[in-house]
């Protein structure tokens, strides 16, 4: 875990140490990438610096001002949990939008590959695709509505004044379903004919599925960590 000292303008070592401790505790509760965490820390550090300056301007000593500033911000664990909840919702929306956008692309890639390999019309290959990975029908039934809820649920929930945790759960569910779907499609190739034309036709579809698989695993893991951090 990196150390935080984001207020170089203030020379009082005790004040800087107190604020650094606060930021350290806040950061410990935020399972984010280095860059995303640094952004949150910079904003909170600026707020703490403003509070510190306001108390000094009101006549407090630096030591008293930093105590007041930290007390004003509240318990860092509560703040990190509240931030994790909101950042988790933003992640959920991005996951939902990403899956909604890439779902048709993956579907078209696989159907097109099946059609090219067999030399038949694409619409006759939808059944072949489902037969190659029978679980895919269930995956679609779960992932499509879950991704739509995650993509739109956050904005609707905020605008209607509702809790938005549903969007995070929907994003996690959609991620898990898509991972299962991609694994099922790729592993289904073990039973596919092994002639070179067939392999070449599927290479593109497999690549797209593997890229989505790795991105979804990372994003789904992040949203689950944020969900846990939000308590």
């Amino acid at each position: 875990m990196e150390a935080f000292d984001l207020i170089p303008a203030h020379g009082d070592p005790q004040a800087r140490a107190t604020i650094a401790d606060y930021l350290q505790e806040l950061a410990a509760g935020l399972p984010l990438s280095h860059r995303a965490r640094a952004e949150v820390m910079a904003e909170i550090a600026d707020g703490l610096a403003c509070a510190f300056e306001a108390h000094v301007a009101a006549g407090a000593t630096p030591a008293a001002a930093v105590r007041l500033a930290v007390a004003e911000f509240g318990d860092p664990r509560e703040l990190s949990a509240a931030l994790a909840a909101e950042i988790g919702r933003a992640h959920a929306r991005r996951i939902g939008a990403g899956l909604v956008a890439t779902g048709p692309l993956v579907g078209v890639a696989w159907i097109g590959a099946f059609a090219q390999a067999t030399g038949t019309a694409w619409w006759t290959q939808i059944g072949a695709l489902m037969a190659s990975a029978p679980i895919y029908a269930l995956v679609l039934a779960v992932s499509v509505p879950a991704a739509l809820v995650a993509a739109s649920g956050v904005r609707l929930a905020v605008r209607l004044g509702l809790g938005a945790r549903t969007a995070v759960d929907a994003a996690a569910l959609a991620s898990v379903a898509c991972v299962i779907g991609d694994v099922a499609l790729v592993s289904g190739l073990a039973f596919a004919p092994s002639d070179p034309a067939w392999s070449a036709a599927l290479a593109c579809a497999v690549s797209i599925s593997l890229v989505r698989l790795s991105v979804t695993v990372g994003a789904g893991r992040r949203v689950l960590l944020l969900r846990a951090a939000a308590r």
Partner: protein, 114 residues
């Protein structure tokens, strides 16, 4: 007034403050304190998750500025935020008017049956 008592109203209050112009997190909480005559004295930390929520909902947008050796995130209302604020304001006026009418025992035509 506690953060719990303000639950459900904080988003609208922040949008109302931002209607006056762009502001950073600490300036927003200070404006809430000042505008309410000190009644809305919330933990400063509560404003940051609320701003994240509003930004995710597309009601505010943020930009980063650099100065005084530190970075500052400034928020401003979006078009959607202005429309949402107008709706919030209208429903609040209806709600507060109705509560006041009942609390003050205004034009009461109903009488309890005996």
């Amino acid at each position: 007034m506690t953060a719990e008592a303000l639950k459900g109203h904080l988003d609208g209050l922040l949008l109302a403050v931002l209607e006056r112009g762009p502001a950073h997190g600490y300036a927003l909480i200070e404006a809430l304190r000042t505008s309410s005559g000190g009644t809305f004295d919330l933990p400063t930390g509560t404003v940051y998750p609320a701003l994240r929520r509003l930004e995710t909902a597309g009601l505010v947008a943020s930009t980063w500025e650099k100065g005084d050796g530190r970075q500052r995130r400034t928020y401003e209302l979006t078009g959607a935020g202005r429309r949402h604020l107008a709706q919030q304001r209208e429903s609040w006026h209806q709600f507060s008017g109705a509560v006041t009418a009942v609390m003050d025992g205004g034009d009461i035509t109903w009488r309890p049956s005996t």
